[in-house]
């Protein structure tokens, strides 16, 4: 059986990391499988939102440290690890991470690569890489800084301290806190709310929100305006506005 399993709930796909023997350590195999699965779902017009989870016990405990110890810089650069992280980051479908238990190191970076995080009250986030003489390599230093500010990022990344679900929510990283046994179901509910909206609009809005981290404000605002102009050419916006005026639920076609 693969290390990543996929199931579907309407227009929501649920990707589950399934490597319990090593607490969902992000081995190269698992990352490649995850990137493959995400790309496949991203290309599927029937999938409007993705839930990414490790299930109700733990999310992902970090990189497979044994693999990392034996990698030279040249081998790392040439390995599918770095490419997999880039492929994961290039997904255009909204991703909701459902996090229970530990999301540490690469596991935390994976959670922070999602658009929203639904967390169990058992969730623990952190970047302990420096304790191993390493640094985060998949966005840990940058995503913490952009999500929670540079000083919070320094506390997490330089000391290796962990942040619980409540502090993460206060920092703005966590959308909702739910019981661990309900974390996947609650993330599917949130993903379903996203999936019920105009799919073109959701992808465009997501791309624009992501530009907030990548572009200066003027360029990002220009990108946003272009997305609105694009939507004005769509069938979906006509349907959405008509449905509102007719007081009925919209039937989006993604065109």
């Amino acid at each position: 059986m693969g290390k990543v399993t996929t199931s579907h709930d309407g227009a929501v796909a649920v990707l589950t990391l399934n490597s319990p023997d090593n607490r969902n350590a992000l081995s190269t195999d698992l990352l490649v499988e995850l990137a493959d699965a995400l790309e496949e779902l991203d290309a599927d017009d029937g999938v409007h939102a993705i839930v990414l989870t490790g299930g109700p016990s733990l999310f992902a405990s970090g990189a497979d440290v044994r693999q990392l110890r034996d990698l030279s810089p040249v081998e790392y650069a040439a390995s599918p690890r770095a490419t997999s992280w880039r492929r994961i980051g290039a997904v255009g479908t909204p991703v909701v991470a459902a996090v229970a238990g530990v999301a540490l190191g690469g596991g935390c970076e994976l959670a922070l690569a999602a658009d929203l995080v639904v967390a169990a009250d058992t969730a623990v986030f952190g970047q302990p890489e420096v304790r191993l003489g390493l640094v985060p390599g998949a966005g840990g230093t940058q995503r913490w800084a952009r999500a929670a500010g540079r000083y919070t990022a320094a506390g997490v990344v330089l000391t290796g301290r962990t942040v619980d679900a409540f502090e993460a929510r206060d920092l703005g990283l966590v959308h909702r806190i739910v019981p661990a046994q309900r974390v996947v179901a609650a993330a599917v509910t949130v993903a379903g709310q996203i999936a019920a909206n105009g799919p073109l609009a959701v992808r465009a809005a997501r791309a624009a929100v992501r530009r907030a981290e990548e572009l200066p404000l003027g360029a990002a605002m220009e990108f946003e305006r272009q997305q609105l102009l694009l939507m004005l050419t769509s069938d979906d916006h006509v349907e959405g506005i008509t449905a509102l005026l007719d007081k009925r639920a919209p039937r989006f076609t993604g065109r």
């Binding site: 009250d121 909702r176 806190i177 046994q181």
Partner: protein
Amino acid sequence: MEVRQVSLSDGVAGLRAAGRDPAVGAVLVDATGAREIDPAFPRRLESLDTPTVAVVSGDCDAGALAVLAAATLGVVTDDVTVTVEHPTVLGLGLTWSLPAALGAVPARRLLFAATLDAWALRASGLAHDGDPAAEAARLAVPGAALLVRSLRVAARSTPAQALAYDDELRRLG
């Protein structure tokens, strides 16, 4: 479901084992003669998903207050005496947990009392005089465990956030 007895000498490991055993419906903590307790003990007690009843008796330091505040329900016997000294108070975070449990003014009455007897502890609301075993047996039901989890989350949430958590929690019951 069964009631598991855990004493201070069983320590954090005893609490952890009780919390992980699905047959355990409630934990009865015997904190007789609590002195210089491991600060991790009340923290772990507070983090259990199972309801807990703490019973305190004999000569104790302020660690007894930490155990009582961390438990779901606290009981003190008539012979209890708690000596309150600032190193224990500060070492166990009582200036945070007691006002959170009792309110600021009642907490100050305990923290500045020097010594506390059973009457003072019961009057504060931190403990009462019930039968601890009977209390623990009463709490050893799934519904009580859900309330314990709800209360812990609510303490760190806004009303709307707490309600949203409870909406999901109810689906487990």
